[in-house]
Amino acid sequence: MSYKNKNLEELNKKIGNLENKNNEVMSNKKETGAGFGFKISTEIIAALVVGVGIGLIVDNYFNTKPIGLIIFFIFGALAGFLNVYRVMRRIEKQR
């Protein structure tokens, strides 16, 4: 690129610098590690809470003390993994 006018050249440089800065800001805006970990952990915990809750209700209702809790705890944990998998897939898609 060769500009006859020196002012134009300077302006071009300025615009280039600003654009670079903008790109840097955009890349900085990407999630922090803590935020990412937080997102993942809430997904697992939420599924576990639901699983344990259902297990306790089932045990209360059918009088099958530990069995319902055990089964639904495992289901809850698996659902947590499923949630994490879905979140990861969504993040991968965004990239």
Partner: protein, 244 residues
């Protein structure tokens, strides 16, 4: 350290006027006041800034239009043409959470999003609404949402409960994320504010500088969490339209 200096003191609910109706305590509390302020701020801001309706917008009108476009774009990106119908709902939800978080950033102000019951109520509205929407759109076929095609038949007794639990965990993860972020942020601010007073000589300047940086981060988180709440609502509405 007495309990009155605790960093968790800011989350206490104090009734402003005691009201009891039919055995239920429905007092007007500082939390209600914060919500009222939030709704007033949103209403006044949006009506006052766009009532001139100039073609060349003023700065304030530009902010309102920016917010409108932001949510409209979000809805059309995630849900598509069907999404326009839900714009008022998602927009009010987004604005309520966003301005609620921002009002909470003002010193001495109460942050109502730092209470799980508030965020859970919001998430429950979304969850129940989306479930009803799914039944309206697909009728009884909505249950096929939990059925994954292309899986050996003997896996279904295992997979369907997992899918159901995963679906039921949505409102919990939605509410816990917002609540925990606000709670952690505000507690951290208070803890470091305590360091400013208790550290000897002039060394209190360092935590003070840290608080300034942390306040900036908190404002970013306040916006980010409102955005996450809105985008997840959009995704759930999308799920109610397109099973799988």
């Amino acid at each position: 350290m007495a309990a009155k200096d605790s960093p968790l003191k800011q989350f206490e609910i104090n009734p402003i006027s005691n009201i009891e109706l039919g055995g239920y305590n429905i007092s007007f509390t500082n939390s209600s006041l914060a919500m009222l302020i939030t709704v007033l701020v949103i209403t006044l801001f949006l009506t006052l800034t766009v009532n001139t309706r100039s073609i060349i917008p003023s700065r304030m009108q530009l902010i309102s239009e920016l917010m409108y476009n932001f949510i409209a774009q979000l809805l059309s990106d995630t849900v598509g043409d069907n999404g326009k119908r839900y714009f008022p709902f998602v927009f009010s939800l987004f604005m309520f959470v966003l301005i609620g978080n921002m009002v909470g950033m003002i010193p001495y102000q109460f942050t109502f999003t730092s209470h799980i019951i508030v965020t859970f109520a919001l998430a429950a509205v979304v969850f129940i609404g989306v479930t009803i929407l799914g039944f309206i759109n697909h009728g009884i076929k909505f249950f096929t949402f939990f059925y994954i095609p292309g899986v050996p038949f003997y896996m279904h007794p295992l997979l369907i409960p997992i899918e159901v639990i995963s679906y039921l965990s949505r409102p919990i993860s939605l509410s816990v994320r917002l609540f925990a972020n606000m709670l952690a942020g505000h507690t951290l601010l208070k803890v470091f504010a305590g360091f400013v007073v208790s550290m000897p000589f002039f060394t209190g300047v360092f935590p003070l500088a840290f608080i300034v940086a942390l306040t900036g981060l908190e404002i970013l988180i306040a916006f980010l969490q409102a955005y996450v709440f809105a985008i997840l609502t959009c995704l759930y509405i999308n799920d109610a339209y397109h099973l799988h």
